[in-house]
């Protein structure tokens, strides 16, 4: 259960007890991994099966030393000595090299551009086309496993090499399916993956028929070499049809049409598969595109749990229909009626997974290396509650663009929890992906505010957002509730104090409760007297923990408040403290925040220690002076 618990993605699937994913996280601690690995042999540089390379990193944890299949005469230095060959040396290749450098795994790249992003960081760079048969063959000879950072490669050669025993991960069959978007659609529909209706168009009449069939707007796409929106055209009506087709180079270029998907959000799931077939899914993210280019990625996506689960299931099923090890990015549409439709799949690390470098236990790049090399897959769950990836796209050509990018970076570096990635591309072009920044923090609301400060040139305005909201039904509760504010000040916990009445300002109460957690508030302390409905009402409107403070009213000594706050029906919990004891409410809030804040735990322990000492002192005084004198002071 360990990893299932730790991985939100895995948890999702744990629900429907998918055997695949169940196995996925455990095979490593069972003999079966070695077995399953043996009939998917890795090839050594010489192209011959090399059991040491294949098993070294895997068998040891899965068996005692006695049964370890490591041959005594061969040794592996470090993590693995498998040489990974990557077709393509763009920013994805660059970040693969960065992940590899930590484990000292050697990555060779094949890319025609001498100073491509990955060149400076690769173990070696073969400057030549990854689309030329003899070159790819030559390159493959120098690697133990062949993988890609771009799918537009010479797949015929890959298929030929596979037959010769070259180890390609993912498999050439996968690249072939993905390369042709139409073939991809056919493949996934044959495997029962939900996707927008589509049809091939061989001439203009086909296009018109499609328009009549699917209605407008109509999405027209070229089958091949389409990425970042290139190769897509939208016809708003039949009049716009011909111009759209022409824009894509005419029907003989190889086109197909898709029924317009009325999506409310675009989602993406990174799925990783190991050499043994085990799979792990990353948390579902929301991708926001600008001019068809990925602009912002939010992790995790703010969608209902059921959508989360559905998206993960679809993504896993889609990848399950493809062959080979590595990470796959599955792009999805969420429609108004809560459907998940597959948009397309990339058989490699992807822009929608960049934030995993900072926000997950294992980045998509380390995961891809683990997968293709044959190491156990890492934990894909998030280690920070929220993360935003923002692409640094060229805003202008040449120096002007560089200057604008540099200013954005300079602003970003002033903001806490921000990491800057610069791809070191020699040329700056408008809309080109030059780098990205990642923000990680305790809530999406906080990160959105910080990103706004960066993009709007107001980094200096980034300020502390309250972690605790202290609210009360009336200002008459303030003399009691102020104790909570004092305690939080003492522990250095940022907070806000508001008057929010369930009876006098119900709308305000509603909006406060509903928006608190997206604003970054983590705990709500609600004080109320008499028929105290505020804590319970708020608790029913927020997923945050709500602490209720019964405030003693003029009559009934506060018992009425206590009972109306504590006796909540099943399903709506309120953490109730003693009558008028706002001090304990704040201490409780600090303990709750301490769950993920070791600094607060140590402060709380100190507070408890000081309290004990204080009592010891009193006790000694009583013992020293006797009770009479003690009382008469």
């Amino acid at each position: 259960m360990l990893l299932l618990k730790q991985s939100s993605a895995a948890l999702l699937v744990a629900g429907n007890t998918s055997p695949v994913l169940h196995n996925s996280r455990f095979t490593y601690s069972s003999q079966s991994f070695t077995m399953s690995n043996l009939h998917k042999p890795l090839t050594s540089s010489s192209g011959k099966f090399n059991p040491v390379l294949a098993c070294s990193a895997l068998s040891v944890p899965c068996s005692s030393h006695e049964t370890s299949p490591i041959s005594e005469d061969k040794h592996v230095h470090g993590v693995s000595e498998i040489i990974v060959g990557v077709l393509g040396g763009g920013q994805l290749g660059r970040m693969l090299c960065q992940a590899a450098s930590q484990m000292a795994i050697k990555v060779k790249i094949l890319d025609p551009s001498e100073n491509c992003s990955a060149s400076a960081l690769a173990y070696s760079h073969m400057v030549d086309s990854f689309d030329d048969s003899s070159t790819v063959e030559e390159f493959a000879k120098r690697c133990d496993v062949l993988t890609v950072e771009i799918e537009h490669v010479d797949v015929e050669t890959l298929e030929k090499l596979e037959k010769e025993g070259v180890d390609c991960q993912p498999k050439a069959s996968t690249i072939r399916i993905i390369q042709d978007k139409y073939m991809q659609k056919v493949h996934f529909s044959q495997h029962g993956i939900p996707l927008p209706e589509f049809m091939e168009i061989n001439d203009f009449d086909d296009a018109k028929r499609a328009g009549e069939l699917f209605g407008y707007p109509l999405m027209i796409k070229s089958k091949r070499l389409a990425y970042d929106g290139r190769g897509n055209a939208v016809a708003k009506s039949q009049d716009g049809l011909s111009s759209a087709v022409i824009a894509l180079g005419g029907t003989n270029r190889g086109l197909y049409v898709e029924k317009w998907a009325p999506f409310v959000k675009e989602l993406a799931v990174i799925v990783a598969r190991g050499r043994d077939g085990s799979m792990v899914c990353y948390p579902v993210v929301e991708t926001i595109h600008r001019d068809n280019i990925c602009h912002i990625v939010k992790a995790p996506a703010d969608v209902p749990w059921k959508i989360n689960k559905l998206a993960t299931d679809v993504a896993q099923k889609a990848v399950g229909s493809l062959e080979g090890a590595g990470v796959f990015a599955v792009e999805l549409f969420l429609t108004e009626d809560g459907q998940i439709l597959l948009n397309e799949v990339a058989p490699r690390p992807h822009n929608s997974g960049h934030q995993t470098i900072e926000s997950c236990y294992t980045s998509q790049f380390e995961q891809h290396l683990r997968a293709v090399v044959g190491l156990p897959l890492g934990d894909s769950s998030m280690r920070t509650p929220a993360s935003i990836m923002y692409n640094i796209l060229g805003e202008d050509d040449g120096e002007a663009g560089f200057k604008l990018a540099h200013r954005l970076i300079a602003r970003a570096m002033c903001v806490p929890g921000v990491s800057v990635h610069w791809y070191d591309k020699p040329e700056m072009r408008k809309q080109r992906k030059m780098g990205h920044i990642t923000l990680v923090g305790r809530s999406m609301g906080v990160l959105e505010q910080r990103l706004h400060c960066i993009t709007s040139d107001q980094s200096h305005k980034v300020n502390e957002t309250p972690r605790v909201g202290i609210i009360m039904g009336s200002d008459s509760d303030l003399p009691v509730m102020k104790d909570a504010a004092n305690i939080l000040d003492m522990f250095g916990v940022a907070h806000e104090v508001r008057i929010v009445s369930a009876h006098r300002t119900p709308q305000m109460m509603f909006s406060y409760a509903a928006s608190a957690h997206t604003r970054g508030v983590q705990v709500i302390i609600a004080g109320a007297g008499g028929a105290a409905h505020l804590p319970g009402m708020v608790a029913s409107l927020t997923p945050l923990p709500v602490i209720g403070v019964p405030v003693r009213a003029t009559r009934l000594d506060g018992v009425d408040s206590l009972l109306s706050i504590v006796q909540m029906p099943r399903g709506v919990p309120v953490a109730t403290v003693a009558i008028n004891n706002a001090t304990n409410a704040a201490l409780l809030a600090v303990r709750m925040l301490g769950i993920s804040d070791p600094d607060l735990v140590s402060r709380m322990s100190q507070y408890q220690e000081d309290m004990r000492e204080e009592n010891m002192v009193k006790g000694e005084k009583l013992e020293r002076e006797g009770w009479e004198l003690y009382l008469n002071q």
Copy 2:
């Protein structure tokens, strides 16, 4: 306040309102940074002052575009174009290069070993001695700023170069002080930093006098070229004195003695200083040495808050007495009587800061680069509650050692939250630092258990540790408390169920409550009936949030339990729920865990949504069927 809040280290100092640290996190958003930077000019490769390089990354966030001092004719591509020269190319240099690659900052290294750790990742590697004057001069010409990853360099040359305008960070004066351990001790004692008594020994009689003065065991150290325990010798008594002195090469080698520090723990604090003098401190860590070599680092250190604060203050004061930008590692002793004594300082990234790569928002390596290049310092606070760094030390020479290291790595890779760093050193030697692994997770207890599984070859035994502890005073409470377990199962939250009575098994109650949070338990749910003392007692013994469930006893309808649980004195909070409502207790626990677990928040929102739907359905049924039929079913 933003960063002060975010940084536990900074928080510590916020208490004593140190102006230095206050400024430290804000200078970047004020014009003053540019100012302060201008009289600490950076030099360009040509050796001449280059305002663009000096200000580019700094001024923009600190001023509107109108007042930006970026000259219109020069542009910076990316983060910074300052070329960083590093003397030394070991694993520290390697990890500096890894941090630099993300920001595409160019790092050149000077190291005599052709295949040193950093060589493959550096922008360029000058294969030559960093202890040779002309070489260092030649190297300096090719860099904009000069820094070190080892302090045993040719400091005379650095001082000469500084006079010629070469930009060294930290300053040569700092290297000179640190190089000579005796001079270092003198320097810090002159600056009022607490440290063990010490004295120079020029002959054997000095040594004897020192023994009489300080007593035995007596620590004898050579002044120079001492690291990883080399250059230290302990004399248990006067008889052992001569052999110890001889072991260190005799008194004319340059020795001094230190009074034995009876420490209970060794602590370390990484302190970073920017070019503008601003400082940030990393959380205090505990370092555990084996044979004088750093073996394990635990972050944060498990010490009382006051010790935490004291250690940070001492570290900050020590670094404050040294010149130049960069990160500094301050090694400290914690004595039995709660004193903090300075052991020594390293003017560079340090083994005690490796875990910052995974556990802090800004790693010590990125921080060092930010500091020496003149970028704003990053957030030094932890982004994971707990972290352990474990050094992979050579256990044997040659292939045997490689095999043992590889087996450790293979086991580590099966464990979630583990990152493996391999330094790619060509030679394996006993006790040599070949790599390290970092474990990050929700509590030190969980990580210690995982590390034990790795080192004892039981990775397959790593299992899920409970996040919630459900305890009750008697098995008669179980029929009520089982509801909590059911809810937690529904949300996939690992938990344990125990019978722990405040009255029948007080010792067990005590040990359970006191150990829960170190075992990884994050929330305790305590159910009790009658005179219900369990929740309050447990709350007084743990820093964790405790949820109290009043269980209805045979008499008084549970009101006695409710009042005895909720009416706690100030200082000891118990989150009380309705009588017998263990369901709400578990839902409250889930909400608390959701503070740092977005997956649980989304599950909770779904639970609330489903609850609403359920009620809607009932309402529609009532409307459809009328109340009579509805009631009569």
